[in-house]
């Protein structure tokens, strides 16, 4: 019984939160990785693009709520996400036309493009803050919990409760769908294959008649879709605050690099590596061992490897270690 309690404890505080946080990071990391693979620069606007998409999702959610439209037990935001995606797509395409396309035709070095993306980061951040303000916003509605701690305790008769928030399940569900469609697209369709070819060897791809404009456009489309979905899911699960989204850029980059930048599947797994290591290393294991060990061996301290203050530092240290020993990332494999 104690053993089961210990397992449920870990599930509740470690596994479920890490899984949903990891999915949110993974969605971001995939598009950063795609942009790095195809457009060949570090896209510093990543976090702010997510907040841009989320902002429009929130605005549409409010609009639908004012019209009285809702999805019952599901959050209204799910209905608003497609509209948010459309606006984000328009935004990235305009941005590409006005800003990035010039540097592509000039064949500028990646560093210049990264600097330019810092410029767009400032602009995007300004737009988000001017339109919706810098404050914390919650836009979740519908049924909050799928499984409450008390219900679980009654069901199983264990001491430890297991809470599953509906946002966590929605996050996981949508991530699986989106990611499987994406990998199907990249691996099976002709356009996807041409994207991979372009990423592998640009000159060769151009010689074989692949239209670079189309490839670039589809990359931005995917980026906008993933950014909006990832951002909206993060906002539903926690809350929406532009500054947090900007900060999320850092673990997203860490995930993309750890997974081997330019390799979307690696980035997908990298998201989970980052999320799990952040939570595993900062969790206080005292209660876990109290269940497992006999009373005489009970630990005194919290048994916490690192204080939770260092949550971000953990993911960055992993990144540094990976960069040192395997600069091409953990999941090297083929590029894209």
């Amino acid at each position: 019984m104690d053993f089961l309690n210990a397992i449920v404890l870990l599930l509740n505080y470690l596994f479920v939160p890490a899984l949903s946080y990891g999915s949110q990071l993974a969605l971001g990391a995939i598009f950063v990785s795609l942009i790095y693979g195809i457009l060949r620069f570090a896209y510093f606007t990543a976090g702010d693009l997510m907040s841009f998409g989320t902002m429009f999702t929130i605005l549409f959610t409010w609009y639908f709520q004012s019209l009285g439209i809702n999805l019952g037990i599901l959050p209204t935001a799910l209905l608003a996400i497609p509209f948010g995606i459309i606006i984000t797509i328009l935004y990235v395409l305009i941005k590409d036309k006005l800003v990035f396309s010039y540097y592509r035709t000039q064949k500028s070095p990646p560093v210049t493009l990264a600097m330019v993306s810092i410029g767009t980061m400032f602009v995007t951040q300004a737009i988000v803050r001017i339109v919706i303000g810098p404050f914390d916003r919650r836009f979740f509605d519908g049924e909050k919990f799928i499984l409450k701690a008390n219900e679980f305790k009654e069901m199983t008769g264990l001491n430890e409760g297991l809470t599953i928030k509906s946002t966590q399940v929605i996050t996981l569900f949508i991530t699986i769908i989106v990611v499987s469609i994406l990998f199907w697209f990249l691996n099976k369709t002709k356009t996807g294959k041409s994207m991979r070819a372009y990423s592998d060897n640009e000159d060769l791809a151009l010689l074989s008649g692949i239209d670079p404009k189309k490839v670039v456009m589809i990359t931005w489309l995917i980026a906008a879709i993933l950014a909006t979905i990832g951002g909206a899911l993060y906002g539903l699960d926690k809350s929406f605050k532009p500054f947090t989204y900007f900060n999320n850029m850092l673990p997203i980059f860490a995930a993309a690099i750890v997974g081997g930048i330019g390799n979307p599947f690696g980035a997908f797994l990298g998201g989970y590596v980052i999320a799990f290591s952040e939570i595993l290393l900062t969790y206080a294991y005292k209660k876990f061992f109290v269940y497992l060990l006999p009373e005489s061996l009970e630990p005194d301290g919290l048994l916490q490897l690192l204080s939770t203050d260092y949550k971000f530092a953990v993911s960055f240290s992993i990144l540094v270690i990976v960069l040192l020993f395997r600069p091409s990332g953990i999941f090297k494999g083929k590029v894209l």
């Binding site: 600097m115 810092i118 530092a313 990144l319 540094v320 960069l323 040192l324």
Partner: protein, 456 residues
């Protein structure tokens, strides 16, 4: 003269703008803009050495700035004797332990060839060392932090004049840069950018959460100043006389003695803040000029030519027998050290150390905007960038307010859209920075004052 016309005109416009602020808003405001412009100029010089001379991207500016600030605290705050008594021994023991770990690992690395055994050995040294560190430091940290936590709760510093911290800050930042450079300089440009950005975040989180070091997010306030305090000035005879002398003509118009005294008092209070800021501005100008002379000399020396050669063609420079790795490390350390000076200067100017205020937007990306806008590779350009961008950053709000009022003048005062825009005025500065950066990168990619290379 003709050759430097663009530099002279750009700088006179900049100074003119600051003086204009003095007339339109207040002299105190103009001088504080000037002070921060000078600090920003030091930062951009540091970043410019790395980026402009050597082509290294360093997105860790925030980390070095914070370390410079930390130096200001550790140098100027008087030591907390009680805290040293309860925990000092263990902390020193920890320092020795870390040094021992580093040296033993280096010894193993040198002595044995790469093998599985060696890796395991190193890993076990690190793990055992970390456990020992934790065991030794945990009780010490707890007891240090419990020494009157409301006011101290940390080890304190050395109690020296704060000006020394400008040098100490350079050493701190340089030491960190040495470690980071050893780790990360082999990476490609954009990887280096991301790695340094993330490492600077680690530095900030350590400073934020290690309370025994510098009180963490509880902040250190009331740092000693290298210049007089306003309150002291206001009671000094010579200062009051000076103020009276300056405002002679205005004071002569007032015949009533009581009224005159009242006016003098007001003037003394106002001019004391101006005087203090003038002192700061003078100190900062000295630093900027010294650094400018050194960097200019370096740029046109054989060493500067070598750096440009490395930047423009690494392989060719390598083939000519230049040690690229060593030079990269050197310039990375030098540039970061300059940023560290700026960090210490900033904390000296503010008189307080707030680790929570170090954010990448303000301390990394904004500095990069300054370097790019000003002109990378040109020291005058970098300084101008620091001035222009900081000026815009501060004055963005009034400008945005004016523009919003101008464009919405057709709408009513209470119009929801107008009120919303007026409320979000602080965020227009991001928009201005972003569009400014994008425009400069597009139409003048070498910056306002581009790099000039003298060909002999």
């Amino acid at each position: 003269m003709r050759k430097n016309l663009d530099i002279i005109s750009a700088y006179s416009i900049m100074l003119g703008l600051i003086i204009l602020v003095g007339f339109l808003q207040s002299w105190s405001m103009a001088l504080s803009i000037l002070c921060l412009c000078l600090i920003s100029a030091v930062m951009t010089m540091g970043a410019n050495i790395q980026w402009g001379y050597a082509g290294l991207i360093n997105f860790g500016i925030m980390g070095y700035t914070a370390l410079g600030g930390l130096a200001a605290v550790l140098v100027s705050v008087p030591p907390v004797r009680e805290a040293w008594q309860v925990g000092g021994f263990n902390i020193i023991l920890c320092a020795f332990l870390i040094a021992f770990m580093v040296f033993s690992i280096r010894f193993i690395m040198k002595k044995y060839n790469q093998s599985k055994k060696r890796s395991y050995g190193i890993a076990s040294i690190i793990i055992v060392g970390l456990i020992l560190l934790r065991l030794i430091s945990a009780p010490a940290i707890e007891s240090i932090e419990s020494v009157s936590p409301a006011t101290t709760g940390f080890l304190g510093g050395m109690g020296l004049p704060i000006l020394f911290s400008w040098i100490a800050g350079a050493f701190f930042a340089g030491a960190l840069a040495y470690i980071i450079g050893k780790i990360a300089l082999g990476l490609r440009a954009d990887y280096l950018a991301i790695a340094t950005l993330l490492i600077s975040e680690i530095v900030i989180s350590v400073i934020k959460h290690e309370d025994w070091l510098a009180r963490g997010v509880k902040n250190v306030i009331g740092l000693k100043r290298p210049v007089p305090y306003e309150v002291d000035l206001q009671s000094k005879e010579w200062f009051i006389n000076l103020v009276e002398k300056f405002n002679q003509s205005a004071l002569n118009l007032i015949s009533n003695t009581l009224e005159r005294q009242e006016v003098v008092k007001q003037l003394v209070i106002e001019s004391s803040t101006v005087f203090v800021k003038l002192c700061f501005a003078g100190l900062f100008t000295v630093v900027v000029i010294i650094l400018l002379i050194i960097t200019q000399k370096a740029l046109y020396s054989p060493w500067g030519r070598m750096m440009r050669a490395i930047r423009d063609n690494e392989e060719a420079a390598n083939a000519m027998g230049k040690n690229v790795v060593k030079q990269h490390l050197l310039i990375f350390v030098l540039g970061s050290a300059i940023v560290g000076i700026a960090g210490a200067m900033m904390v000296t100017y503010d008189g307080l150390f707030t680790p929570g205020s170090y954010r990448p937007m303000r301390y990394t990306f904004l500095i990069w905007v300054m370097v790019i806008v000003g002109g990378s590779g040109n020291n005058f350009g970098a300084i101008l960038g620091g001035f222009a961008v900081w000026f815009l950053w501060v004055e963005a709000a009034p400008i945005a307010l004016f523009l919003v009022n101008f464009f919405t003048s057709g709408l009513e005062e209470t119009n929801a859209f107008r009120v919303h825009l007026v409320n979000s005025i602080p965020y227009f500065r991001f928009l201005m920075m972003g569009t400014g950066l994008l425009l400069i990168m597009r139409y003048r990619p070498k910056g306002i004052l581009p790099e000039k290379i003298k060909h002999i």
